[in-house]
């Protein structure tokens, strides 16, 4: 129960960070924070219900988050190379 509230608060902080921050890498950090909050909710549900499925889904979320960070950083590097900036406000065109 308490863990669910903690996870909700962490998710909110991450959402605010995605909206407020301008640097793409900090936006990434905030996305990671939100993913962690959902992981905490999964693990605490798994603990409440006494089976392991929530923990396994949390594990899968971590794998997907790792893949997402790799591809995202590659995209940020590509944007940085073409625009010399890592601010999300400069990447406002959806074409190359």
């Amino acid at each position: 129960m308490n863990y669910l509230i903690l996870s909700a608060i962490l998710f909110t902080i991450g959402a605010v960070g995605v909206l407020v921050r301008r640097n793409a890498i900090v936006v990434f950090m905030c996305v990671e924070l939100m993913l962690n909050a959902t992981n905490l909710a999964f693990v605490s549900f798994s603990h409440q219900h006494g089976n392991l499925d929530g923990q396994i889904i949390a594990f899968f979320v971590m794998v997907v988050a790792a893949a997402e960070v790799v591809v995202g950083l590659a995209i940020i590097m590509a944007i940085f190379r073409s625009r010399r900036s890592s601010s999300v406000d400069d990447a406002n065109l959806l074409k190359y």
């Binding site: 962490l10 959402a15 605010v16 890498i25 990671e32 924070l33 992981n39 590509a78």
Partner: protein, 166 residues
């Protein structure tokens, strides 16, 4: 308050405080380092929830790999290392509204939906690697294989994206 409650409050305060600092700090590298603190507190929370394996995977993947990758990203994009004023974008009020709405909805739903749920603590060794591995390779083996293909695709995609001649 039992000992578990006290430990939970300590871990929660550390996790939320570090997360707030990630969002509000003016220095990029400090944001990454506060992220380490927040993830570490969350790993402690997983341990408290008897999810040992998830806790150690959290330490290995997030604290070990993801934050290092983010620090590499900060260095490679030649971000300003010191204090920089233009880190915040302009939509501060929209963010405030979204924050209040999200917090309200999430806390209300969770409290109303799971008020009567309880957490038994006498399930020893439930989150250890052995039962988790058995479950992964018996019940969840198809998602596991799909995720391995996804990791391969992410690897190839990252290499293709970061080549110079695109």
């Amino acid at each position: 308050m039992t000992t578990l409650d006290v430990v939970f409050v300590l871990l929660g305060v550390v996790a939320v405080g570090a997360a707030v600092l990630v969002v509000t700090t003016r220095q990029l590298v400090h944001a990454a380092l506060w992220l380490v603190v927040s993830f570490g507190a969350l790993a402690g929370g997983y341990l408290m929830l008897t999810a040992e394996f998830v806790a150690w995977v959290q330490v290995l993947i997030y604290v070990g790999a993801v934050v290092v990758l983010l620090l590499f990203g900060i260095m490679l994009t030649r971000a300003p290392i010191g204090r920089s004023a233009d880190l915040d974008s302009g939509n501060r009020w929209a963010a405030l509204a979204v924050a209040l709405a999200t917090a309200g909805v999430l806390v209300t739903v969770l409290v109303r939906g799971f008020r009567t749920a309880y957490a038994p603590l006498d399930v020893a060794g439930q989150g250890a690697a052995k039962p988790l591995g058995e479950s992964v390779f018996r019940i969840w083996v198809l998602p596991f294989e799909v995720l391995s293909v996804l990791l391969l695709a992410a690897l190839v995609g990252a290499i293709v994206l970061s080549r110079r001649e695109i």
